[in-house]
Protein backbone atom coordinates (compact mmCIF):
# COMPACT_ATOMS: atom_id res chain seq x y z
CA UNK A 1 0.00 0.00 0.00
CA UNK A 2 1.11 3.53 -0.65
CA UNK A 3 1.06 6.05 2.20
CA UNK A 4 -1.78 8.00 0.60
CA UNK A 5 -3.88 4.82 0.57
CA UNK A 6 -3.22 4.32 4.28
CA UNK A 7 -4.09 7.97 4.76
CA UNK A 8 -7.38 7.37 2.97
CA UNK A 9 -8.24 4.64 5.50
CA UNK A 10 -7.20 6.90 8.38
CA UNK A 11 -9.42 9.68 7.09
CA UNK A 12 -12.43 7.71 8.27
CA UNK A 13 -11.62 8.28 11.94
CA UNK A 14 -13.89 10.77 13.65
CA UNK A 15 -12.95 14.23 14.88
CA UNK A 16 -14.97 16.89 16.60
CA UNK A 17 -15.70 20.13 14.82
CA UNK A 18 -17.68 23.27 15.50
CA UNK A 19 -19.48 24.20 12.28
CA UNK A 20 -20.21 27.82 11.42
CA UNK A 21 -23.24 26.96 9.31
CA UNK A 22 -26.58 25.18 9.44
CA UNK A 23 -27.39 22.23 7.25
CA UNK A 24 -29.59 19.18 7.06
CA UNK A 25 -27.81 15.80 7.20
CA UNK A 26 -25.81 14.80 4.15
CA UNK A 27 -26.29 11.21 3.03
CA UNK A 28 -23.14 9.42 1.81
CA UNK A 29 -22.62 5.82 0.77
CA UNK A 30 -20.38 5.42 3.80
CA UNK A 31 -22.93 6.89 6.24
CA UNK A 32 -24.75 10.07 7.08
CA UNK A 33 -23.06 13.24 8.27
CA UNK A 34 -24.84 16.01 10.11
CA UNK A 35 -27.21 17.67 10.70
CA UNK A 36 -25.04 20.73 11.28
CA UNK A 37 -26.02 23.52 13.66
CA UNK A 38 -23.80 26.58 13.88
CA UNK A 39 -21.64 26.57 17.09
CA UNK A 40 -22.87 23.12 18.15
CA UNK A 41 -19.94 20.63 18.23
CA UNK A 42 -20.40 17.49 16.15
CA UNK A 43 -18.26 14.45 15.29
CA UNK A 44 -17.51 13.92 11.61
CA UNK A 45 -15.02 11.84 9.59
CA UNK A 46 -11.63 13.46 9.31
CA UNK A 47 -11.93 13.98 5.55
CA UNK A 48 -15.16 15.93 6.02
CA UNK A 49 -13.55 18.05 8.71
CA UNK A 50 -10.56 18.86 6.50
CA UNK A 51 -12.77 19.80 3.56
CA UNK A 52 -15.02 22.03 5.67
CA UNK A 53 -12.02 23.64 7.32
CA UNK A 54 -10.49 24.44 3.94
CA UNK A 55 -13.71 26.26 3.06
CA UNK A 56 -13.63 27.95 6.47
CA UNK A 57 -16.93 26.40 7.43
CA UNK A 58 -15.77 25.01 10.76
CA UNK A 59 -13.30 25.03 13.60
CA UNK A 60 -11.56 21.73 14.37
CA UNK A 61 -11.35 20.72 18.03
CA UNK A 62 -8.06 18.88 18.46
CA UNK A 63 -8.31 15.32 19.83
CA UNK A 64 -7.60 14.95 23.56
CA UNK A 65 -4.19 13.46 23.02
CA UNK A 66 -2.98 16.34 20.86
CA UNK A 67 -1.72 18.03 23.96
CA UNK A 68 1.88 18.92 24.71
CA UNK A 69 1.93 17.51 28.24
CA UNK A 70 0.33 14.21 27.28
CA UNK A 71 2.66 13.85 24.33
CA UNK A 72 5.75 14.55 26.47
CA UNK A 73 4.65 11.76 28.77
CA UNK A 74 4.08 9.44 25.82
CA UNK A 75 7.49 10.22 24.40
CA UNK A 76 9.24 9.39 27.68
CA UNK A 77 7.29 6.16 27.92
CA UNK A 78 8.19 5.23 24.36
CA UNK A 79 11.84 5.94 25.07
CA UNK A 80 12.06 3.89 28.26
CA UNK A 81 10.05 0.97 26.93
CA UNK A 82 11.66 -1.78 24.90
CA UNK A 83 8.46 -2.73 23.14
CA UNK A 84 6.00 -0.42 21.44
CA UNK A 85 3.71 1.74 23.57
CA UNK A 86 0.04 1.92 22.68
CA UNK A 87 -0.70 5.10 20.80
CA UNK A 88 -3.77 7.17 21.71
CA UNK A 89 -5.06 6.79 18.17
CA UNK A 90 -4.65 4.08 15.54
CA UNK A 91 -3.89 6.77 12.98
CA UNK A 92 -2.06 9.27 15.16
CA UNK A 93 0.39 10.23 12.42
CA UNK A 94 -2.33 10.80 9.81
CA UNK A 95 -4.54 12.78 12.18
CA UNK A 96 -1.60 14.89 13.22
CA UNK A 97 -0.51 15.55 9.67
CA UNK A 98 -3.94 16.49 8.35
CA UNK A 99 -5.22 18.46 11.34
CA UNK A 100 -2.00 20.36 11.92
CA UNK A 101 -1.72 20.92 8.20
CA UNK A 102 -5.06 22.68 7.75
CA UNK A 103 -6.12 23.86 11.19
CA UNK A 104 -2.98 25.28 12.76
CA UNK A 105 -5.02 28.27 13.96
CA UNK A 106 -7.32 26.00 16.00
CA UNK A 107 -4.52 24.30 17.90
CA UNK A 108 -2.32 25.92 20.51
CA UNK A 109 1.46 25.35 20.22
CA UNK A 110 1.25 23.75 16.78
CA UNK A 111 4.98 23.73 16.13
CA UNK A 112 5.88 22.11 19.44
CA UNK A 113 3.20 19.48 18.96
CA UNK A 114 4.36 18.75 15.45
CA UNK A 115 7.96 18.31 16.63
CA UNK A 116 7.11 16.02 19.49
CA UNK A 117 4.88 13.78 17.37
CA UNK A 118 7.68 13.51 14.84
CA UNK A 119 10.06 12.60 17.70
CA UNK A 120 7.75 9.82 18.84
CA UNK A 121 7.45 8.58 15.25
CA UNK A 122 11.24 8.58 14.85
CA UNK A 123 11.82 6.67 18.09
CA UNK A 124 9.30 4.05 17.02
CA UNK A 125 10.72 3.77 13.52
CA UNK A 126 14.22 3.12 14.78
CA UNK A 127 12.86 0.52 17.21
CA UNK A 128 11.04 -1.07 14.32
CA UNK A 129 14.20 -1.26 12.22
CA UNK A 130 16.28 -2.90 14.92
CA UNK A 131 13.57 -5.41 15.72
CA UNK A 132 13.31 -6.29 12.03
CA UNK A 133 17.04 -6.89 11.90
CA UNK A 134 16.86 -8.93 15.10
CA UNK A 135 14.07 -11.05 13.78
CA UNK A 136 15.93 -11.88 10.58
CA UNK A 137 19.24 -12.51 12.35
CA UNK A 138 17.74 -14.85 14.90
CA UNK A 139 15.59 -16.52 12.25
CA UNK A 140 12.67 -15.97 14.59
CA UNK A 141 9.48 -17.78 13.71
CA UNK A 142 7.27 -14.84 14.55
CA UNK A 143 7.42 -11.31 15.86
CA UNK A 144 4.95 -9.43 18.01
CA UNK A 145 3.75 -6.27 16.31
CA UNK A 146 1.42 -5.19 19.10
CA UNK A 147 0.56 -1.52 19.26
CA UNK A 148 1.99 -0.65 15.87
CA UNK A 149 -0.22 1.57 13.78
CA UNK A 150 -1.11 0.79 10.18
CA UNK A 151 1.19 3.47 8.78
CA UNK A 152 4.08 2.03 10.77
CA UNK A 153 3.41 -1.54 9.73
CA UNK A 154 3.13 -0.36 6.16
CA UNK A 155 6.55 1.28 6.38
CA UNK A 156 8.27 -2.11 6.55
CA UNK A 157 6.45 -3.33 3.49
CA UNK A 158 7.45 -4.67 1.08
CA UNK A 159 11.01 -5.08 2.40
CA UNK A 160 10.38 -7.37 5.37
CA UNK A 161 7.82 -9.74 3.81
CA UNK A 162 9.95 -9.96 0.66
CA UNK A 163 13.08 -10.74 2.65
CA UNK A 164 11.19 -13.43 4.56
CA UNK A 165 9.95 -14.87 1.26
CA UNK A 166 13.50 -15.12 0.01
CA UNK A 167 14.79 -16.73 3.20
CA UNK A 168 12.02 -19.28 2.94
CA UNK A 169 12.97 -19.90 -0.65
CA UNK A 170 16.64 -20.40 0.20
CA UNK A 171 15.70 -22.71 3.05
CA UNK A 172 13.32 -24.93 1.17
CA UNK A 173 14.65 -27.34 -1.35
CA UNK A 174 14.96 -26.20 -4.88
CA UNK A 175 14.36 -29.65 -6.23
CA UNK A 176 10.92 -28.78 -7.47
CA UNK A 177 12.24 -25.80 -9.37
CA UNK A 178 15.08 -27.57 -11.12
CA UNK A 179 12.51 -30.05 -12.32
CA UNK A 180 10.33 -27.39 -13.79
CA UNK A 181 13.04 -25.34 -15.39
CA UNK A 182 14.16 -28.03 -17.76
CA UNK A 183 11.44 -30.57 -17.32
CA UNK A 184 13.46 -33.47 -15.95
CA UNK A 185 11.70 -35.66 -13.48
CA UNK A 186 14.61 -36.80 -11.38
CA UNK A 187 16.12 -34.80 -8.59
CA UNK A 188 19.75 -34.01 -8.24
CA UNK A 189 20.39 -34.83 -4.63
CA UNK A 190 18.55 -38.11 -4.92
CA UNK A 191 20.41 -39.13 -7.99
CA UNK A 192 23.62 -38.35 -6.20
CA UNK A 193 22.94 -40.29 -3.06
CA UNK A 194 21.64 -43.38 -4.74
CA UNK A 195 22.03 -44.09 -8.39
CA UNK A 196 19.08 -46.41 -8.38
CA UNK A 197 16.53 -43.67 -7.72
CA UNK A 198 13.69 -43.45 -10.21
CA UNK A 199 13.85 -41.19 -13.21
Amino acid sequence: MDPDEVEFLGEKSLVEIVPTFNSAPIYFIGGDVGPFRASIPIRVPLWVAVNLKKQQQCKIIPPDWMDLEKLEFLKEEEKSNKSFVKMPSDHYMIEAKLILGCAADDIPKTDEIRTIIKDIWDIRMSKLRSSMDDMIKKSAMYAAVDNLTLMEINSIRPLLPHALDQIYRIKTNKKALSNRSQGTTSTLSESRTSFSSKT
Binding site: K97, I170, S189, R192
Partner: protein, 201 residues
Protein backbone atom coordinates in the same frame (compact mmCIF):
# COMPACT_ATOMS: atom_id res chain seq x y z
CA UNK B 1 4.17 -0.83 -12.90
CA UNK B 2 6.49 -2.29 -10.34
CA UNK B 3 5.69 -5.79 -9.29
CA UNK B 4 4.50 -5.97 -5.69
CA UNK B 5 5.22 -9.64 -5.31
CA UNK B 6 8.51 -11.07 -4.22
CA UNK B 7 10.80 -12.71 -6.76
CA UNK B 8 9.61 -16.22 -7.49
CA UNK B 9 11.29 -17.84 -10.47
CA UNK B 10 9.16 -19.61 -13.04
CA UNK B 11 9.50 -21.06 -16.53
CA UNK B 12 9.27 -17.61 -18.15
CA UNK B 13 11.37 -15.65 -15.69
CA UNK B 14 14.23 -13.79 -17.30
CA UNK B 15 16.38 -13.86 -14.19
CA UNK B 16 16.04 -17.60 -13.84
CA UNK B 17 17.02 -18.11 -17.48
CA UNK B 18 20.06 -15.90 -17.02
CA UNK B 19 21.01 -17.59 -13.74
CA UNK B 20 20.88 -21.02 -15.37
CA UNK B 21 23.10 -19.68 -18.17
CA UNK B 22 26.05 -19.29 -15.77
CA UNK B 23 28.96 -21.60 -16.51
CA UNK B 24 29.51 -24.49 -14.15
CA UNK B 25 32.44 -26.92 -14.13
CA UNK B 26 31.72 -30.58 -14.81
CA UNK B 27 33.41 -33.76 -15.93
CA UNK B 28 32.13 -36.07 -18.66
CA UNK B 29 31.54 -39.60 -17.43
CA UNK B 30 30.77 -41.02 -20.87
CA UNK B 31 31.80 -40.47 -24.44
CA UNK B 32 29.45 -38.17 -26.30
CA UNK B 33 29.70 -38.71 -30.06
CA UNK B 34 29.64 -35.54 -32.21
CA UNK B 35 29.70 -33.31 -29.12
CA UNK B 36 33.30 -32.22 -29.55
CA UNK B 37 32.10 -28.69 -30.34
CA UNK B 38 31.17 -28.27 -26.67
CA UNK B 39 34.88 -28.19 -25.96
CA UNK B 40 36.40 -25.04 -27.47
CA UNK B 41 39.97 -26.21 -26.86
CA UNK B 42 39.83 -29.14 -29.26
CA UNK B 43 38.89 -29.81 -32.89
CA UNK B 44 37.92 -33.42 -32.27
CA UNK B 45 34.50 -34.51 -33.39
CA UNK B 46 33.63 -36.56 -30.33
CA UNK B 47 33.78 -35.63 -26.70
CA UNK B 48 35.69 -38.18 -24.62
CA UNK B 49 34.82 -39.43 -21.17
CA UNK B 50 37.02 -37.74 -18.61
CA UNK B 51 36.97 -34.35 -20.34
CA UNK B 52 36.58 -31.49 -17.88
CA UNK B 53 34.61 -28.50 -19.10
CA UNK B 54 32.63 -25.49 -18.02
CA UNK B 55 29.10 -25.69 -19.41
CA UNK B 56 25.97 -23.61 -18.84
CA UNK B 57 24.14 -24.67 -15.71
CA UNK B 58 20.98 -25.73 -17.59
CA UNK B 59 22.95 -28.33 -19.52
CA UNK B 60 24.86 -29.54 -16.47
CA UNK B 61 21.61 -29.92 -14.53
CA UNK B 62 19.99 -31.93 -17.32
CA UNK B 63 23.03 -34.06 -18.10
CA UNK B 64 23.70 -34.93 -14.47
CA UNK B 65 20.12 -35.84 -13.62
CA UNK B 66 18.57 -39.24 -13.57
CA UNK B 67 19.71 -42.81 -13.35
CA UNK B 68 22.51 -42.46 -15.80
CA UNK B 69 24.64 -39.39 -15.33
CA UNK B 70 26.43 -38.12 -18.38
CA UNK B 71 28.43 -35.52 -16.52
CA UNK B 72 29.50 -35.19 -12.89
CA UNK B 73 28.83 -31.61 -11.76
CA UNK B 74 31.29 -29.72 -9.62
CA UNK B 75 30.90 -26.68 -7.41
CA UNK B 76 31.78 -23.38 -9.07
CA UNK B 77 34.74 -21.87 -7.26
CA UNK B 78 32.82 -19.05 -5.57
CA UNK B 79 31.00 -21.65 -3.47
CA UNK B 80 34.12 -23.56 -2.48
CA UNK B 81 35.75 -23.36 0.89
CA UNK B 82 38.12 -20.45 0.30
CA UNK B 83 35.26 -18.20 -0.77
CA UNK B 84 32.97 -19.49 1.94
CA UNK B 85 35.57 -18.45 4.49
CA UNK B 86 35.54 -14.89 3.14
CA UNK B 87 31.76 -14.75 3.52
CA UNK B 88 31.91 -16.23 7.01
CA UNK B 89 34.45 -13.64 8.10
CA UNK B 90 32.37 -10.62 7.07
CA UNK B 91 29.62 -11.05 4.53
CA UNK B 92 28.71 -7.36 4.55
CA UNK B 93 32.15 -6.37 3.29
CA UNK B 94 31.88 -8.53 0.18
CA UNK B 95 31.10 -7.20 -3.27
CA UNK B 96 28.60 -9.95 -3.98
CA UNK B 97 28.08 -8.80 -7.53
CA UNK B 98 31.73 -9.64 -8.21
CA UNK B 99 31.19 -13.15 -6.87
CA UNK B 100 28.23 -13.60 -9.18
CA UNK B 101 25.27 -11.47 -10.19
CA UNK B 102 23.04 -14.46 -9.39
CA UNK B 103 24.83 -15.49 -6.21
CA UNK B 104 21.79 -16.88 -4.38
CA UNK B 105 19.99 -18.30 -7.40
CA UNK B 106 23.02 -20.09 -8.80
CA UNK B 107 23.89 -21.20 -5.29
CA UNK B 108 20.48 -22.71 -4.72
CA UNK B 109 20.96 -24.88 -7.80
CA UNK B 110 24.54 -25.95 -7.24
CA UNK B 111 24.26 -26.58 -3.51
CA UNK B 112 23.26 -30.15 -4.29
CA UNK B 113 26.55 -30.76 -6.09
CA UNK B 114 28.12 -30.98 -2.68
CA UNK B 115 26.65 -33.53 -0.35
CA UNK B 116 27.38 -31.61 2.78
CA UNK B 117 25.22 -28.62 3.62
CA UNK B 118 28.05 -26.11 3.53
CA UNK B 119 26.79 -24.21 0.50
CA UNK B 120 23.23 -24.16 1.79
CA UNK B 121 24.42 -22.76 5.10
CA UNK B 122 26.58 -20.09 3.57
CA UNK B 123 23.73 -18.86 1.36
CA UNK B 124 21.52 -18.45 4.37
CA UNK B 125 24.27 -16.90 6.48
CA UNK B 126 25.15 -14.40 3.76
CA UNK B 127 21.57 -13.30 3.20
CA UNK B 128 20.76 -12.92 6.88
CA UNK B 129 23.96 -11.05 7.68
CA UNK B 130 23.59 -8.64 4.80
CA UNK B 131 19.91 -7.86 5.45
CA UNK B 132 20.59 -4.93 7.78
CA UNK B 133 22.99 -3.48 5.23
CA UNK B 134 20.36 -3.66 2.48
CA UNK B 135 17.64 -2.27 4.74
CA UNK B 136 19.84 0.69 5.69
CA UNK B 137 20.68 1.34 2.05
CA UNK B 138 17.00 1.32 1.12
CA UNK B 139 16.06 3.60 4.01
CA UNK B 140 18.69 6.14 3.18
CA UNK B 141 16.59 8.11 0.75
CA UNK B 142 19.39 9.89 -1.02
CA UNK B 143 21.91 7.11 -0.99
CA UNK B 144 24.43 7.04 -3.77
CA UNK B 145 22.98 5.01 -6.67
CA UNK B 146 26.28 3.18 -7.16
CA UNK B 147 25.97 1.41 -3.81
CA UNK B 148 23.69 -1.16 -5.34
CA UNK B 149 26.54 -2.25 -7.59
CA UNK B 150 27.76 -4.39 -4.71
CA UNK B 151 24.50 -6.32 -4.49
CA UNK B 152 23.47 -9.48 -6.25
CA UNK B 153 20.27 -9.61 -8.32
CA UNK B 154 18.04 -10.76 -5.47
CA UNK B 155 19.38 -8.13 -3.10
CA UNK B 156 18.97 -5.49 -5.77
CA UNK B 157 15.31 -6.31 -6.09
CA UNK B 158 14.86 -6.00 -2.34
CA UNK B 159 16.79 -2.75 -2.28
CA UNK B 160 14.75 -1.27 -5.13
CA UNK B 161 11.34 -2.14 -3.74
CA UNK B 162 12.39 -0.98 -0.27
CA UNK B 163 13.85 2.22 -1.60
CA UNK B 164 10.76 3.10 -3.61
CA UNK B 165 8.48 2.48 -0.63
CA UNK B 166 10.76 4.57 1.58
CA UNK B 167 10.80 7.48 -0.85
CA UNK B 168 7.01 7.44 -0.99
CA UNK B 169 6.77 7.49 2.79
CA UNK B 170 9.23 10.37 3.06
CA UNK B 171 7.30 12.33 0.45
CA UNK B 172 4.12 11.69 2.39
CA UNK B 173 5.69 12.89 5.63
CA UNK B 174 6.92 16.11 4.04
CA UNK B 175 4.33 17.06 1.44
CA UNK B 176 0.90 18.49 1.85
CA UNK B 177 -0.79 16.29 -0.72
CA UNK B 178 0.21 13.58 -3.13
CA UNK B 179 -0.09 14.95 -6.66
CA UNK B 180 -1.38 12.73 -9.43
CA UNK B 181 1.49 11.72 -11.65
CA UNK B 182 2.15 10.57 -15.17
CA UNK B 183 2.55 6.82 -15.52
CA UNK B 184 6.08 5.48 -15.05
CA UNK B 185 6.46 4.29 -18.60
CA UNK B 186 5.23 7.59 -19.96
CA UNK B 187 7.70 9.60 -17.89
CA UNK B 188 10.62 7.37 -18.84
CA UNK B 189 9.62 7.36 -22.47
CA UNK B 190 9.60 11.13 -22.52
CA UNK B 191 12.97 11.38 -20.78
CA UNK B 192 14.55 9.06 -23.32
CA UNK B 193 12.97 10.95 -26.15
CA UNK B 194 14.40 14.19 -24.87
CA UNK B 195 17.86 12.65 -24.82
CA UNK B 196 17.38 11.31 -28.34
CA UNK B 197 16.16 14.68 -29.58
CA UNK B 198 19.18 16.36 -28.05
CA UNK B 199 21.49 13.86 -29.70
CA UNK B 200 20.05 14.37 -33.15
CA UNK B 201 19.27 18.07 -32.93
Amino acid sequence: MLSTTSYQPNYFSIDDILATQERTPCKFLQNAPRMGKLNPSTDEKDLKAGTELELPLWLVLDASAGRQMIVAPELPKIYREAYREILKADATAVDLHKFNLYFYELGSYVKYFDRREDVHNILLHTFITRFRFIMDLANNADSDPTVQNRLDMLERRLFKSGHIARTKLNTWLLDSGAPLKAANMVTNHRKRKRVDDDLFA
